[in-house]
Amino acid sequence: MDNPEELEIGFLIELAITGEADWKQYNEVMDRVENEPEIAELYQQALAEHQLLEAALPAAEQELAQEQVREAERLRQLAEKQRLEQKNDLDLGM
């Protein structure tokens, strides 16, 4: 999607999908979707991508947060292990 016309219609399609388009933009997109197969294909791709991201992002964000918690716990356990090892070394007079 490099040429200005594709950029323009790509942006309008995204606005139409989310309801952000004004009525003139919205009607332009729907007219072209109904009359131009290549625009219908762009519209369907944008719709599929939008829905995939809506479904995937919350799960990915949750997984990332859990991963960060696991990593923090791993570091805490590592620090605790090192502290105990140092304490043992001191107790043994090393």
Partner: protein, 183 residues
């Protein structure tokens, strides 16, 4: 972005949105009867929320479109699963994105790509796809136009997420990769 002033009374949204929402639902592949049902359910949900908790909706119009899109897809999928309807020829059938995301290879590659995004990039994607900010609102936070906000988000998706997911999928499951990324 709006050319006219938004309705003040929640019920005025019905006359404002009914036509465009019905056309939108039909564009998703629904029959006109199913489209009307999906729109009616969407408008009822919008009005209930506007009356009970108006501050929870950032943009009533965007909210209604999202609800109708979800309703329409749900109805369409129910009917296609029962083999009652087929996708119109001019609208190529797209895979069910919820099912696709449940594919372990897609989920894992998406999560790996997502974890590699910067905090700013993740924040932008969440604002748009999860918190339902408009491009206008994201643009004004970034200090750019709505169209440039769209380009920024599009670039994050195509340069990182799509590229990484496509790369992993092409190696792990070429058939699914060509289904998801036909071009």
């Amino acid at each position: 972005m709006e050319s006219a002033q938004e309705p003040k009374n929640p019920k005025d949204w019905i006359s404002e949105l009914e036509g465009p929402l019905t056309r939108f639902a039909i564009s998703l592949g629904l029959s006109s009867h199913d489209a009307q049902d999906a729109v009616q359910d969407g408008l009822i949900a919008l009005i209930r929320t506007l009356e009970k908790n108006p501050d929870s909706i950032r943009s009533p119009k965007a909210y209604a479109f999202t609800i109708v899109r979800n309703n329409a897809n749900k109805r369409f999928r129910e009917r296609t699963r029962r083999n009652e309807v087929e996708m119109p020829e001019h609208l190529p059938e797209t895979p069910d994105e919820d099912d696709i995301y449940q594919e372990p290879v897609v989920k894992q590659s998406f999560q790996a790509a997502y974890a590699n995004l910067s905090i700013l990039e993740r924040d932008l994607l969440n604002k748009y796809y999860v918190e339902k900010w408009t491009y206008e609102q994201i643009g004004s936070e970034l200090g750019c136009s709505a169209q440039n906000a769209w380009k920024t988000i599009k670039k994050i998706i195509s340069n990182t997420l799509t590229k990484e997911v496509r790369k992993t999928l092409t190696q792990a499951d070429p058939e699914l990769a060509s289904e998801l990324f036909p071009h």
